[in-house]
């Protein structure tokens, strides 16, 4: 028994010793925990505090509202409209399918919509709103609102969508906005571009002034939890809304011009202020509705726009290349005058001109008889200009044309401008590695052959003539926010005023008795216009066709001549210049000139009415004066 007690005591001693060791181990382990605590909370505390803030705070971008675009008198051309969309928060409904079934009774949803919605519901967090449908009408909004109690999880959200009140009428000037492409996203540094649904300018002024219109992003500091749900907003900076862009365009004239062109299949027109270069109207027909682009254009509609051979998406004023035809003759005449040709020198026109074994025809079969420069411009005699050109050579003509803005971009503030071609001997060597043939000079003299120009170039040429030789440059932007950028003093292009006066007199003769466009003259006193018609071949007329006397109107539309007209008004003190082209319209003076007349008359009548209104306003400011001077102008208001 004592033995057993001894052994118990021994066992106890061993155990006590070992208990102590065990306790030591535990104390050591506890110290390790304390050390770790010290390391994490004290030594690395700041580091983890930063990480914790990063965790907690999420910076969201707020899209600024896009700047609006207005015409010269403040009529809105591009605005932002409230866009109502129905959204579904899937966590607030028990059965997404059932809710969608109810929504379909109020909103048309296609099967494709439904698939997209269900995919988004799966993909997004359950508290993130999924868009059911955008651009709801008022009726749809109220139908949803009334039925909200039966539609768990559904709500109406308000966003902004770009809207163009003039729709098709100013599409080529304004362009449109669209979602940011992958490539644009990669090149850009503006964080706004990565906002889902953010739209940027894709063409026209929307693209040209995109940065100014865009504004700067606002930010919202949000406290979010681990799954990204917003707990509350900590701070908010609304950012800068985009700048307002004021254009030189006159909305009424623009609307009228586009309407006027719509009588033809494919046409373009531009009217500008001779002194400032400000463009008052710039129309290209057919057009498109930029509103559909802003909302996301349906594929079939886009395909039909692309396939249309009259190319509605192309702004023909800046991107259309045309042989200027006889509208080029003022350049040939000026080059002749500068080269010392006597304007009173007479040339006999028998209806054709033989040179180097070829016969060059005048458009008038029987010929014009004996003509001087004034007659040649007035009647558009080809033979006179063949003869003139042969004497002075192509390089002089090309030099004059370039001084008047042809052959190069006019630097208009619209993207996509083409240069056109003004050929000369150097150009031919450079382009074709061939020498210039004198016969080609004859084609250039009447604006055919290699010569091409855009309507805006022709309008600028006309404006430079009408301004008495000032290097006017065209522009569409009058002001960005309050910064006016308009220029009125232009450098001289260095052509003697008397030469220009002589050519202008010839152009005034065009709309006088015996001129090619006499029928399209302006009869209102003090508003008369001068101009130059052009009927440019798009397909060479073969000898067989000429002999057969094939009527121009009988040829296929695509092969018919282009009808052109350039004009300025009033003749006495030119204020406006314009260029018109009607593709395959056949008669420059019969088809294009009347459009020029209507536009120039319209703008002058509008100005007169405005001046009258200003006078009336000065004497009796309370009496509203109705503008009635525009006979062809439809009723006021939104033309959509």
């Amino acid at each position: 028994m004592f033995n057993a007690i001894d052994r118990d005591a021994e066992r106890q001693r061993v155990m006590n010793r070992r208990t102590l060791v065990l306790g030591g181990l535990k104390a050591g382990a506890l110290s390790a925990l304390v050390a770790r605590l010290y390391y994490l909370q004290i030594l690395e505390g700041d580091h983890y505090t930063t990480l914790a803030e990063d965790n907690r705070i999420s910076l969201r971008l707020l899209a600024p509202s896009r700047g609006i675009i207005v015409d010269r008198s403040g009529v809105p051309l591009a605005v932002n409209e409230q866009n109502f969309r129905a959204v579904l928060v899937s966590e607030r409904t028990d059965d997404v399918d059932e809710t969608l079934d109810k929504v379909v009774k109020l909103l048309p949803l296609t099967d494709a919509d439904r698939r997209r919605i269900l995919r988004d519901v799966d993909r997004l967090r359950s508290f993130a709103p999924v868009t059911l449908r955008e651009n709801l009408t008022w009726d749809q909004v109220s139908a949803i609102e009334v039925n909200l109690p039966d539609l768990p999880g559904v709500s109406i959200e308000v966003g902004q969508v770009r809207s163009y009140p003039f729709g098709e009428q100013a599409a080529h000037i304004l362009g449109y906005v669209g979602v940011v492409s992958e490539q644009e996203l990669q090149n850009a540094r503006d964080p706004l571009l990565s906002l889902p649904g953010f739209r940027i300018g894709k063409s026209g002024i929307e693209r040209k002034h995109d940065l100014a219109l865009r504004g700067t992003a606002g930010t919202s500091q949000l406290e979010v939890n681990a799954v990204g749900r917003v707990v509350r907003e900590l701070a908010r900076n609304d950012g800068q809304p985009g700048h307002q862009v004021t254009l030189t365009i006159d909305a009424k004239l623009q609307y009228y011009a586009q309407q006027r062109l719509a009588e033809h299949e494919s046409a373009a027109a531009v009217v500008l202020d001779v002194q400032t270069g400000g463009i008052l109207a710039l129309a290209s027909h057919p057009s498109f509705d930029p509103n559909q682009f802003a909302m996301g254009i349906p594929q079939d509609l886009y395909d039909s726009l692309i396939k249309n051979e009259a190319s509605p998406l192309t702004n023909k004023v800046v991107a259309g290349h045309y042989a200027p035809g006889s509208t080029f003759k003022p350049m040939t005449a000026l080059a002749g005058l500068e080269a010392g040709v006597d304007p009173t020198h007479r040339v006999f026109c028998p209806g054709h001109y033989d040179f180097g074994g070829h016969t060059f025809h005048c458009y008038k079969k029987g010929g014009h008889g004996s003509v001087d420069m004034h007659d040649a411009i007035r009647m558009s005699c080809d033979v006179y200009f063949y003869d003139l050109a042969r004497r002075i050579g192509v390089d002089r003509i090309a030099d004059m044309a370039r001084r008047f803005g042809l052959g190069d971009r006019t630097d208009l503030d619209l993207p996509g401008e083409k240069t056109g071609i003004i050929p000369d001997t150097k150009w031919k060597r450079r382009t074709y590695k061939e020498n210039w043939y004198d016969g080609e000079t004859l084609s250039v003299a009447i604006g055919q052959g290699y010569v091409t120009a855009t309507p805006i170039q022709l309008a600028v040429m006309c404006a430079r003539l009408a301004s008495g030789g000032k290097a006017v440059k065209p522009h569409l932007t009058k002001a960005v926010e309050q910064e006016y950028t308009e220029q009125t003093a232009w450098p001289d292009i260095g052509v003697k005023p008397e030469f220009i006066q002589r050519v202008l007199a010839g152009m005034a003769g065009v709309t006088s008795a015996g001129g090619t466009a006499y029928a399209a003259r302006i009869t209102q006193p003090g508003m008369e216009m001068g101009g130059k018609s052009g009927t440019a071949q798009v397909k060479r007329i073969t000898m067989a066709e000429r002999n057969a006397g094939l009527l121009k109107a009988e040829r296929p539309w695509k092969d018919r001549d282009n009808a052109l007209f350039i004009a300025f008004a009033p003749v006495q003190a030119p204020r406006y210049a314009c260029a018109i082209i009607v593709e395959h319209g056949v008669g420059g003076s019969s088809v294009a000139a009347p459009i020029a007349r209507d536009l120039l008359l319209e703008i002058q009548l509008m100005e007169a009415a405005r001046a009258q209104q200003a006078d009336a306003g000065a004497t009796a400011p309370s009496a509203p004066t109705q503008v009635t001077a525009a006979p062809a102008m439809p009723g006021e208001g939104t033309p959509r």
């Binding site: 208990t19 983890y48 914790a52």
Partner: protein, 384 residues
């Protein structure tokens, strides 16, 4: 005084009142104080609400407190007598969960009793200590020196460990091994035998690795390099370190732990509750908490040292080691010192099964204290 008359032990038949007087009420108070910290944390975890966690935890604790006192008042010789039996029940339940266990959190661990989910592996943590204490109660140093004597004990350990590993629950099986190791150490098993076993286990690691579940491999990998996979398995530890580290010296204040309240912290009411405590109360609060826990352990040691029978000493030491392991593994895990193993923080973490076994454990500890001077034969039950 050496009293050889085993039938005349003055404490052998204490009245209920005497036993109540013997209970260490200061320990009960300490346990309650620690549990109250837990209630406060659960209140905070629910963003300042008693629901869904704090109220239930308080009720469970109240039940647990009663259970603890009942366990404490039962004569320790009865516990000795039923040690193997209780171990057998826990073992049987382990087999049951293995066969028809309820699948939850990726591991088969629970038996659904309706009012609570019973985790037999938790039960095993207590009953294994009791069974081993029973086994070594009568063993002399010579006995423990014999390998043949140790083999039945080893079987008693390895069998449940294997079952728990199969569940698979790495954390609990390691805890069972370590508690058993501590008991082996205390009864005087020679150091070289430990070295031998540890050596062979180390050698077996590649084999074990081969048989490990992918999620267990991931946990080990994640432990070795948590920053590599910030949104995957390393996410919990990263977020836990961020929350804890951002607490600083004095913490963000009660209910103000941004990381915990914004749900960056996973499982904040269970395994990661210490992180929230350290975020809101800072290092000062965490140290106070650790000190209270250390005091609990000291109580366990004192009770073991003052006990006059081997069974009580081993049970008290085993349960103290158990408590220590719970705490150490949990806190080391949330601080990124060891891999993520699903071990709750006793008295603090929300949960039924572990809270119950922890309270039973404290009950046994108190029982050892109440019955510290009871005389027991080496066979244990002769004087009962």
């Amino acid at each position: 005084m050496i009293n050889l008359d085993m039938g005349l032990d003055p404490q052998s038949n204490m009245s209920l009142g005497e036993k109540l007087g013997q209970i260490s009420w200061s320990l009960v108070l300490l346990i309650t104080a620690v549990a109250c910290i837990g209630f406060a944390m659960l209140y905070s975890a629910a963003n300042g609400n008693f629901d869904p966690w704090a109220t239930r935890q308080i009720m469970r604790f109240a039940v647990g407190l009663v259970l603890m006192l009942v366990v404490a008042l039962i004569d320790i010789r009865l516990w000795l007598k039923f040690s193997y039996f209780l171990y057998g029940i826990a073992f049987f339940l382990l087999i049951v969960v293995e066969i028809m266990g309820h699948v939850g959190m990726g591991a088969q661990r629970w038996i659904d009793l309706g009012f609570m989910q019973l985790q037999p592996s938790e039960l095993m943590k207590v009953t294994l200590v009791m069974a081993l204490a029973r086994y070594f109660h009568g063993a002399s140093l010579e006995d423990t020196g014999r390998i043949t004597f140790l083999i039945p004990a080893l079987v008693m350990i390895v069998a449940p460990v294997c079952l728990v590993l199969l569940q698979p629950n790495l954390g609990t099986s390691l805890m069972l091994l370590m508690v058993s190791g501590a008991i082996f150490w205390l009864v005087g098993v020679r150091l070289w035998k430990f070295a031998l076993v540890i050596g062979s286990v180390l050698a077996a690691i590649p084999v074990i690795w081969h048989f490990m579940h992918d999620y267990q491999k991931n946990r080990v990998n994640t432990f070795l390099n948590p920053e590599n996979d910030p949104l995957g398995h390393g996410y919990h530890i990263m977020q836990s370190k961020i929350a804890l580290g951002s607490g600083g010296m004095f913490g963000k204040g009660f209910l103000m732990g941004s990381q915990s309240h914004l749900n960056f912290l996973p499982e904040k009411q269970t395994d990661f509750i210490f992180t929230m405590l350290a975020e809101e109360m800072g290092m000062v609060g965490a140290l106070v908490f650790l000190a209270m826990y250390a005091l609990l352990l000291v109580y366990g040691y004192v009770i073991a040292m003052r006990c006059r029978h081997q069974y009580g000493r081993l049970v008290a030491m085993g349960l103290t080691v158990n408590l220590f392991l719970y705490m150490f593994i949990n806190i080391a895990m949330v601080m990124g010192l060891i891999p993520v193993v699903g071990v709750p923080l006793p008295l603090i973490s929300y949960g039924g099964s572990s809270a119950l076994t922890v309270m039973i454990g404290f009950g046994l500890l108190l029982c050892v204290h109440v019955h510290r001077d009871v005389r027991m034969s080496r066979r244990g039950m002769s004087d009962f």
